[in-house]
Point group: C2
Chain length 259, copies 2
């Protein structure tokens, strides 16, 4: 039987409140068994950009990563956010080790091909080095990934944190029975967007089609759930979506997604 692995992704909203982040990290540190954390950085990078007078370039609602923005992302995600998360986890006796995709050559990516838009230094994941991640887990470490990858030739890339989480989960599923947790500000996927307690407890491929048809899943939730089903199709055991309290052992209020 495969050993269990928990892979947790926290979004920008959790990162922005020191209190919420501290609560989350405490819960994460209490998770039993091998585990991996993936974090974004979101508004922290935008805030530094504003202070430095570097504009966030947006095209069609999507962010372009030029050289200056890549520097900011490397400072904020790889430095400020990652090192503070690691230090806080260490304080909770979780033997965290902070990583970008360049560290231990864990995640290789290639520059997103230019079609209508040149996204600049945005990388799409090419491969996850599961052997090196496994070595770290075997060493008793808890990898903490920021949303940065590299091309293997010295170039760093800004990469979507949700994608990094699902790609690592997929890679590690060769060796582990993997559960992927997407932590965000809501309690789960909501049946009624105006009712924060209308959490759908279970979604599978069939009910997903139904929810799509009824337009209950739309907008930002759509790519998130597509990502979840993609991970499940690639052998991730289970995907859960909810707020940070989902990590409590007794928690039942969150959305579980299965094939």
């Amino acid at each position: 039987m495969k050993k269990k692995l928990s892979l947790v992704k926290i979004g920008g909203n959790v990162m922005e409140s020191k209190n919420e982040l501290a609560k989350f990290l405490q819960l994460f540190s209490e998770l039993q068994g091998p585990k991996i954390l993936v974090h974004g950085g979101g508004k922290l990078a935008t805030e530094l950009g504003v202070k430095l007078g570097v504009e966030a370039q947006m095209v069609g609602g999507r962010r372009i990563t030029d050289a200056q923005n890549l520097e900011i992302i490397t400072m904020v995600y790889g430095g400020l956010a990652n090192k503070n998360i690691v230090a806080q986890l260490q304080a909770s006796h979780c033997n965290a080790i902070g990583l970008s995709g360049a560290d231990a050559n864990t995640i290789k990516a290639y520059k997103r091909p230019v079609r209508e838009i040149d996204f600049g230094f945005v990388g799409d994941v090419e491969s996850v080095n599961t052997k090196n991640i496994e070595r770290l887990l075997q060493g008793g470490f808890t990898p903490v990934f920021c949303a940065i990858t590299h091309d293997g030739n010295g170039q760093l890339f800004n990469t979507n944190a949700d994608t990094i989480a699902s790609e690592i989960a997929i890679g590690m599923s060769e060796m582990y029975e993997t559960t992927l947790y997407y932590c965000f500000e809501k309690k789960g996927v909501l049946l009624n967007i105006t009712d924060k307690d209308s959490v759908i407890k279970n979604i599978d491929s069939n009910s997903y089609q139904d929810l799509l048809h009824k337009k209950i899943i739309a907008d930002g939730m759509l790519p998130k759930l597509e990502n979840c089903f993609y991970a499940l199709q690639k052998n991730v055991n289970k995907v859960c979506i909810g707020d940070i309290s989902m990590l409590r052992p007794a928690s039942t209020v969150y959305t579980t997604i299965t094939l």
Copy 2:
């Protein structure tokens, strides 16, 4: 017989020139056997401080690290400098993994006690976790340390990179025959400060006393050499001081310090 370990510290001057840094990293990646890199960040942090309007507070010629300066240091040393060094080493097929002292709980420090001056978030090294560093080396990784430590309770500290290098070298000397290389802008310890080629090839405890007496070693070189002899007394095998070409296997122009 103990295995050999190379521990290399590069200073701010090497970091400031992209060309010099690239040359150095190529030479470092070619070093045989297990190795560790420690880097400063120096002026890069000062530059970001200027851009952000955060003044570097100096008291008696020494830098004070307040909360804002600690954030800058965490961004620049732990993020920008460390991740770019790691990505460049990976491009040279060196399996680098970037670390602060918080990562894998490698270096614990305590806040420097307040006597005449409160240095703020400056940490003095309390202990080096040689077991975790050894696990990383055994895993085939090359640790790349920035000059940041932690107190184990979630607080990061700014710590002198020369000290981090000597403390890691001392710790690892239990297991390894360790050579500590201090790379800086000069070819070695100079007999005549105005002649850049007047490198003293060997210094031992006896000749050191003589050089002190003749005031050949003074100013900035004094604490550097005190640090070297401290490391040697604590079982580091050899300490070398020179510029980056010291890492070439055929190089003979640098200063070797022994007891």
